[in-house]
């Protein structure tokens, strides 16, 4: 059975939602949304998802090939103001793709380089990251694992709170912050190292640990039982195909490489 790296990553990312129960899962971007949708169809059927517009759905919409919201499986109206009522209750798990992630798990989607008053590159702005990060669980999806994303210093703009003792608000400890997993094109990581250090828990097929370390701007811990990332099952691939009939996932990772590296 063959599968693409994107499909491997989607399956790995979908497992982040296994134990969430009745929680609103929000995947921002095509592959994260596909991962959340897959989880809702497989390992966590109690999960909640929106149509990315204004309704909660009892069955996720496809991520490609949809031309109208008519006929979708609406469950309740869920406008953006109401999303915040849910966010601040804590019953949400977001899977997002930051431009920078530092060793504390702090992230940046706002701006890069230059000064804050005149950045070299203006990105989106902090969006909902500050509120998400102090309210509910978050996981990260990184299509290209590199030292540009996993920066050696702090993020240029710290948009989300992480496990940084110097920035911890008064009255807070690390248990108030819930960063779960990082899924990249090389591996799956969590924050299970000493003092919440980022830790490799599984490597994608054919990826050596040294490659992860070389492409990360800080030292990562390694789980004692580090293993190979679980391969997609036929059932998962069938559901992915159903959720993404136009194969938009093939355009998300450069050159759409296979999930198992070929031997050189």
């Amino acid at each position: 059975m063959t599968f693409s790296l994107a499909e491997l990553m989607v399956c790995a990312a979908s497992r982040s939602f296994d134990d969430d129960g009745e929680v609103l899962a929000t995947g921002i971007g095509l592959l994260p949304r596909l991962a959340a949708s897959l989880a809702m169809r497989t390992t966590n059927t109690d999960m909640m998802m929106t149509d990315s517009q204004s309704y909660m759905l009892s069955r996720p919409n496809p991520v490609s090939g949809m031309s109208t919201h008519q006929g979708q499986a609406n469950e309740n109206w869920m406008g953006f103001a109401r999303i915040f009522d849910n966010v601040w209750s804590g019953a949400r798990h977001a899977l997002v793709g930051p431009s920078q992630i530092d060793r504390f798990g702090q992230t940046n989607i706002a701006a890069l380089g230059g000064s804050y008053d005149a950045p070299k590159v203006q990105l989106l702005g902090v969006r909902g990251f500050p509120g998400n990060s102090i309210s509910h669980a978050n996981s990260f999806f990184v299509p290209k694992h590199s030292t540009r994303v996993f920066v050696s210093g702090e993020c240029d703009v710290v948009c989300s709170i992480g496990y940084n003792p110097d920035r911890l608000p008064r009255g807070y400890d690390f248990s108030d912050i819930d960063i779960r997993r990082i899924i990249t094109d090389l591996c799956v990581m969590d924050f299970g190292g000493p003092d919440r250090q980022i830790r490799v828990v599984s490597l994608h097929p054919g990826v050596p640990l040294s490659e992860v370390q070389e492409n990360t701007g800080f030292e990562v811990a390694v789980a004692d039982d580090v293993c190979q990332t679980e391969l997609p099952t036929a059932e998962q691939l069938r559901i992915i195909e159903e959720l993404d009939p136009l194969n938009a996932r093939a355009k998300q990772i450069k050159d759409n490489p296979p999930g198992e590296r070929r031997a050189h």
Partner: protein, 290 residues
Amino acid sequence: MTKCVSAAEAVSVIESGMTIGIGGWGPRRKPMALVRELLRSDVTDLTLVAYGGADVGLLCAAGKVSKVIFAFVSLDFMPLEPAFRKARESGSVEVREIDEGMMLLGLRAAAWGSPFIPTRIGLGTDVITRNPDLKLIDSPYDDKEWVAMPALNLDVAMLHATRADERGVCEIASPDHYMDDWFARAAATTIVSADEMVDSEYFHSPDVARRVYWERNVTSKVVHIPGGAHPSSSDPLYGFDVGHYKAYAGLISESGYTAWANAFLGESEADYQREVGGIDAIKALPLPAY
């Protein structure tokens, strides 16, 4: 009673130095015809509060803005708004960058006459370190620190509705009214452009009345502008104009604001609509699916 005025009359209440809130979200249901009227005026030195799209981009590019209070400025399908990007990267506008939810809390505080609303949002991030005017406070009920999100008091809010009557009852028939009700309530003066004008009887239907998110005494002025949200969407009447946004991005990036204004802005909304293909073309723009 009638609150109906022309776009020029409505926008004439806006003076240099004012704080202006703009409703909608990114490329969705923005009061763009009112923004264009503002572009044609000599007003300057504005502070904008918005879930921003080309509204913020254009006003920055035209030199109307001294400060932007924002969480994002984006066109969704085109993640980075080209004119805002230029303004930020050249350092030509001051910013107060806050979380999307903080903006909602700031508008609510203003609407409720409260000086601030306490929240956890922003703690541990550069939202606090980069905004020294955002104060941290003690709680009388616990030992944690809290962000005191200040009221975002608006001089004027500009909003776009699907339909309105002449007394200022406004229907938002789109899937989401976003934070428009809070913008309306946070403002001293609220200007609403509407695609369609209706008789008051139209609102007798309970289903329609449920799509009215603020009371008419919150609406100050109503401007009838079919297609007035273009190039943003006014779901269910029309979608956003991907083609125009692309043309806009190209002109802004390669030649700057004046090139866009020369090509499209004109002396009036009629001029503008002629340049973008006319009202029938606007009404034919397909609704987006996300």
